[in-house]
């Protein structure tokens, strides 16, 4: 017998007590938990996102679309970033004011190539206010998972309020499970040494989030 047959046969024997008529959708799961905690206006939801992002030590900035290139240029300059990796589908205007060598995310880049890059700039799929979480789904303006992992500095632009949801239950239906997802809540951190929190063990040590308001001209 194959491992598969052995395990499945054992499972079936172990479950002899389950009544025959009971189907895989029984017993029912009570879903009377909240879809979202508390009621907020869209604006308040964005506020909560900003608060929770900052609480987890992401650096939060705000701008109108017109101000984005200047803001990104300023953030990169402040880090002294010279090379920046960008996803193939990122709006080129976002980096138009930055004096850096923007290099597209190429399939041929090795992880080592990425380790030599100073910063990465991406959009996101959505952000979750209650938990202060950004979700990337490898869409055209986010790129492969590795580009937001290996460089030490990540600037992530969130379009508010469109890309902001209140809660985890509101987030999942908007995400496609077949795409690889990365949920990011604050920069990488560890508390393994005497429970002292240290940021940036492997992921980017600095996470900057730009909340870009929808109003104003593009």
């Amino acid at each position: 017998m194959s491992g598969r047959d052995v395990v499945l046969a054992r499972v079936r024997r172990a479950l002899a007590d389950v009544p025959r008529g009971e189907g895989p959708h029984d017993p029912p799961v009570p879903r009377d938990y909240r879809r979202v905690h508390g009621s907020r206006t869209a604006e308040e939801t964005v506020e909560l996102l900003a608060e929770n992002l900052a609480d987890y030590r992401a650096v939060v900035h705000r701008c109108a679309p017109a101000g984005l290139p200047a803001l990104i240029a300023r953030l990169l300059a402040a880090r002294g970033a010279r090379t920046v990796v960008v996803p193939a589908g990122l709006d080129p205007r976002w980096l138009s004011a930055a004096e850096v060598a923007a290099r597209p995310d190429r399939a041929t880049d090795t992880a080592r190539d990425l380790a030599a890059v100073d910063s990465v700039v991406t959009g996101c799929a959505l952000a979750v206010a209650e938990t202060g979480t950004l979700v990337l789904d490898a869409g055209p303006d986010q790129g492969r998972r590795r580009i937001t992992l290996v460089p030490d500095h990540h600037i992530c632009v969130v379009r508010v309020p469109d890309q902001v949801v209140g809660s985890v239950p509101e987030a999942l239906p908007r995400l496609a499970p077949e795409r690889p997802l990365t949920w990011i809540s604050g920069p990488s951190a560890t508390s393994d040494i005497e429970l002292d929190r240290v940021e940036g063990v492997h992921g980017p040590r600095t996470l900057e989030v730009v909340l870009m308001a929808a109003d104003g001209e593009g």
């Binding site: 491992g3 052995v6 395990v7 499945l8 054992r10 499972v11 024997r13 172990a14 479950l15 007590d17 389950v18 009971e22 189907g23 895989p24 959708h25 029984d26 017993p27 799961v29 009570p30 009377d32 938990y33 909240r34 905690h37 929770n52 987890y56 399939a107 080592r112 380790a115 490898a138 492969r144 998972r145 590795r146 992992l149 985890v168 999942l172 239906p173 499970p177 077949e178 795409r179 690889p180 997802l181 990365t182 949920w183 990011i184 809540s185 920069p187 990488s188 951190a189 560890t190 508390s191 393994d192 040494i193 005497e194 429970l195 002292d196 240290v198 940036g200 063990v201 492997h202 992921g203």
Partner: protein, 497 residues
């Protein structure tokens, strides 16, 4: 190469050693109290915690009661997404499969995400025998591995080490494994973390094979989920060409929507955060992003035996948050190593004997490694009634009875006059010889009494029953428990705020 848990002494002897270590006790007390208090605050933020907990328990119960259906569905959806599914009935089979898969890549080194399933099967040791080096990449696991040590906590495996010891281990051992520790390394956590970053980055950038576990597997979509903090998980899951995930069959959940429950329950219960820094989900393989080959090894290794026990099966709901460790007065004093498996604390006390089929003195002593204060049940995000299972397993030790071992029904002999009974008795006596454990248990019990009037003051009396055990009591624990609790012992949910 890190040691394995096999050959651990029975709980009381191991506990006696660890309780004599004042530093260990101080580290543990500090850690458990800190995490415990933070967790209570994180949980209090959600006013529907009780409902989430009930839903979490129900989702897991539903999965377990139809596990064959969901495993087949999972297999199909993983394969449809380009993954390869393997089944392992026991540790040996799992190790053979993983060894073969690594060999087929031609590689001799692998990077690993922290995974209790691979510790449980002794994968690193098995790979070493086959000439393959497995590098642990979680900071705490790295400390444990470099120190040729064993993990002692689910969440913070190196909690028994302080910063000075960690610096010494890094200075002494890092060079033997790869990039040595920087000159003049101090014991500041930031510098130590930086040393780990540099040391491990070399491995990440060159590794062709990654090995992981998973926190959840979604049957409907074939999606695997890994929840972590440091980013080492993301490194191992996305940089290598081949990814091999070894996952216990009980980690299955039916639907994508079910993740909304667990992604709320797990981080708050575990690290007391609203959300852990990183969560990665993947479904088979994706062109141009992440590993080109994905293998899922579905692990039984005693899980179906646990499933066969209608009282004990609820242990398989466990999402490994470690909340029960941090409230346990026995764990706080005994430390994680005393439990003789990767699963310490209250969950270890019920899971290890079941996974291993009560096969020896350690397993038979573990159900006694508890004051039955009930605090573990109060905090458990999936409402596992750990005291109920402990009492049930004690009854098995003392009275004997049917258990399932490797899929076959066997009847355990009563432990009377047997070495196992003596081991159990010593464990009970050990708990009694440590009045602090009793006081700790009672204090917690008193604090939560308001929430669970029907459960308490049972614990104290259950305990004294335990103590009077040399002869088999006229009434079994289970009967006593049910009689004094005045109900049929169903799992209550929603007790924690």
């Amino acid at each position: 190469m890190s040691r394995s848990f096999l050959g651990m002494p029975a709980f009381p002897r191991a506990a006696a050693v660890s309780t004599r270590d004042p530093r260990l006790r101080a580290n543990l007390a500090h850690a458990t109290h800190t995490i415990r208090d933070k967790r209570a605050r994180a949980v209090a933020e959600l006013d529907d915690w009780a409902q989430l907990r009930a839903a979490g328990a129900a989702v897991k119960d539903r999965t377990l009661r139809h596990l064959d259906h969901y495993l087949e569905q999972l297999e199909e959806s993983v394969a449809a997404a380009g993954g390869h599914v393997h089944w392992a009935a026991d540790a040996d089979e799992a190790n053979r499969i993983v060894t073969r898969l690594v060999r087929e890549t031609g590689e001799r080194e692998v990077v690993k995400v922290k995974s209790m399933a691979t510790q449980e099967i002794g994968l690193n040791e098995a790979l070493a025998e086959a000439g393959i080096r497995a590098y642990e990449t979680d900071l705490a696991e790295l400390i444990v591995q470099l120190g040729d040590d064993l993990p002692s906590h689910i969440l913070v495996p190196a909690i028994h080490r302080n910063r000075g010891e960690i610096r010494d281990i890094f200075r002494r051992e890092m060079g033997k494994w790869g990039r040595p520790a920087p000159e003049g390394l101090s014991d500041s956590p930031a510098e130590l973390a930086e040393a780990a970053r540099l040391h491990l980055r070399e491995k990440f950038l060159t590794a062709k094979v990654g090995i992981s576990g998973a926190n959840f597997m979604v049957a409907e979509t074939g999606t695997l989920v890994v929840v972590e903090s440091e980013g080492n998980g993301r490194m191992c899951l996305t940089l290598p060409e081949t990814l091999i995930s070894v996952v216990g069959i009980e980690k299955t959940v039916p639907t994508w929507q079910d993740l909304e429950v667990f992604l709320q329950l797990l981080p708050r219960s575990s690290t007391a955060e609203r959300m852990n820094p990183y969560t990665t989900t993947w479904t088979g393989t994706t062109d141009g992003d992440g590993p080109r080959a994905f293998h899922l090894v579905l692990l039984d290794n005693g899980r179906t035996d646990t499933l066969a026990d209608t009282v004990g099966r609820q242990a398989l709901r466990c999402i490994r948050c470690s909340a029960c460790l941090n409230v346990c007065p026995v764990y706080e004093r005994a430390g994680g190593h005393a439990y003789g498996s990767p699963y310490p604390g209250p969950i270890g006390a019920i899971l290890t004997p079941q996974l291993r089929g009560m096969a020896g003195p350690l397993e038979e002593s573990l159900p006694y490694a508890s004051s039955l204060c009930g605090a573990c049940y109060e905090v458990c995000p999936v409402a596992i009634d750990i005291p109920e299972v402990l009492v049930h397993l004690r009854e098995r030790v003392v009275e004997g009875g049917p258990v399932t071992r490797r899929g076959a029904r066997v009847v355990l002999k009563p432990a009377k006059g047997h070495a196992a009974e003596r081991a159990a008795m010593r464990a009970a006596a050990w708990t009694f010889d440590h009045p602090g454990v009793l006081r700790g248990g009672m204090r917690l019990a008193a604090r939560t009494r308001r929430l669970h009037p029907r459960r308490l003051p049972g614990p104290g009396r259950a305990w004294s029953d335990t103590r009077a055990l040399p002869t088999v009591p006229a009434e079994s624990f289970r009967d006593w428990w049910r009689r004094t609790r005045g109900d049929a012992g169903g799992s209550e949910t929603g007790g924690v705020k």
